[in-house]
Amino acid sequence: MSLLPAVVALGDDALVLGQRLSEWCGKAPLLEEEMAMANTALDFLGRARLYYGYANTLGGRDEDGYTFHRDAREYTNLLLFELPGADFAAATARQFLVDAFDELHSAELANSADATLADIGAKVHKEATYHRCHSAAWMVRLGDGTDESRRRMQQALEDVWGYRQELFVNAPAEQPLVEQGILPDRAELRAAWQEAVATTLAEATLTVPAASWAVKGGRQGIHTEHLGVMLAELQHLSRSHPGAKW
């Protein structure tokens, strides 16, 4: 039974970032990149549906129950995923840090002792590898582009950097599942992640930020103020018509 909240949490991560990415529709700097961001958004939303669907078979709600009928305090996504990323530098920096993590995490998840999670992990791994290539290329292009683009990217990295720490913490509910080989041990992914990120940042002529600050709380439902606003928009129509089918 303790598997359920862990699966929902992974669904929440995917859902809120899928929503953030879909907000870029009609706003990207190049039409080609607009297509790419929509693809990534569709992958994350698809992932959310897989996790929520699995949660449903474990006795949880259905996907719309999770998406539309929980308040911000009940969402357990990590904070990094919910940040607005409202300009292209912020969106790109966040996406790169997430993709680099997902690539490593999904590779381990694909070996899960739980068959469903292993299947999801294998699917996510294919996507995440592709996403990481794409977002790393953008880091390099913008870091090693103009003076302005380098300045913007360095600033975006500094602004998001403290949110990375949560990626490497196993929540109390997750710890026993880590021990049973059902979930990857997040703490063990840190070194490889740091190396992967440092390699790309070096190629991008960007500096790895000084690592002194950390913001945490997502898995406990202690979010940024941004999540409530996002959910207000995401949920209002569904909640305005209780019981309606769409």
Binding site: S22, C25, K27, A36, L42, F88, T146, H241, A244, K245
Partner: protein, 330 residues
Amino acid sequence: MAAASDEFQARIDREERIEPQDWMPEGYRRTLVRQISQHAHSEVIGMQPEGGWISRAPSLERKVILLAKVQDEGGHGLYLYGAAETLGVSRDELIDAMHTGKAKYSSIFNYPALTWADVGAIGWLVDSAAIVNQVPLQRCSYGPYARAMMRICKEESFHQRQGYDIMLALARGSAAQREMAQDALNRWWWPTLMMFGPSDADSIHSSQSFAWKIKRYGNDELRQKFIDQAVPQAEVLGLKIPDDDLQWDAATGHYRIGAIDWDEFQQVVSGNGPCSRQRLAHHRQVQEDGAWVREAVAVHAAKHRAGSDGPKAAARNSDTAQEGRADAAV
């Protein structure tokens, strides 16, 4: 020159495809640039009214379907900008022409999408109308345009179905949902009929376009085709078409409609639609916000052109746009 233009017309008459490297009259080229770019701009501006509802879609499944639909429209824009570029104009020039009001886009997108039912009505009516318009364009005499239309038409039927499916769910839903659906039909019906343009008698671009086989059917003929399809569909939905003069004409086998308000059409076409300013301002703002990114892409590509990773990075950049034209835009 007369010989060249006679030979050109003869090729058209033989239903041969004209390709970018072929000789063509300047008027033919200009007509195509105008039509293809207007079409491309319509796809891109058309992302706005529906795109605004992705974040608010009422179920996760609807969200995903709508995002995929709006993404397709952006893809259509890319195919069409590509087709226009074969005529020797850049995407930047075409976009500038839209920003300065020289180039138009379909007036339909200057109406607001006020409720979720509007997303359904747009897919059902506007995409249906687009299909009726676009199917004959697959046989347009200009090869790149015809081929772009073939790719586009394949995707449009999914758009129409997702819209109709939204309407169907609303029509079978609660009283509030049915009301939402009727209200959307009321607001989108007449603007959709206007999408086909003025009556052929009043259309300024028609006759030469027929001779060049850019156009194959008249505006009224296409409009009638749409009406004959849409009226029975509205009946299945149990919704009322907002036209008291609408009636079946057994003699012709077509539905007859009341008078179209062409003054409203002229107003919207000349940039005074309810959302005309908003749509252009949004597009301009996005272009401005993204200027530093496009500049960085160009500078990065120039720095690394000599090196081995230039083409690789460009290929990665344009992953969904197989044309690989990310750099052409900057």
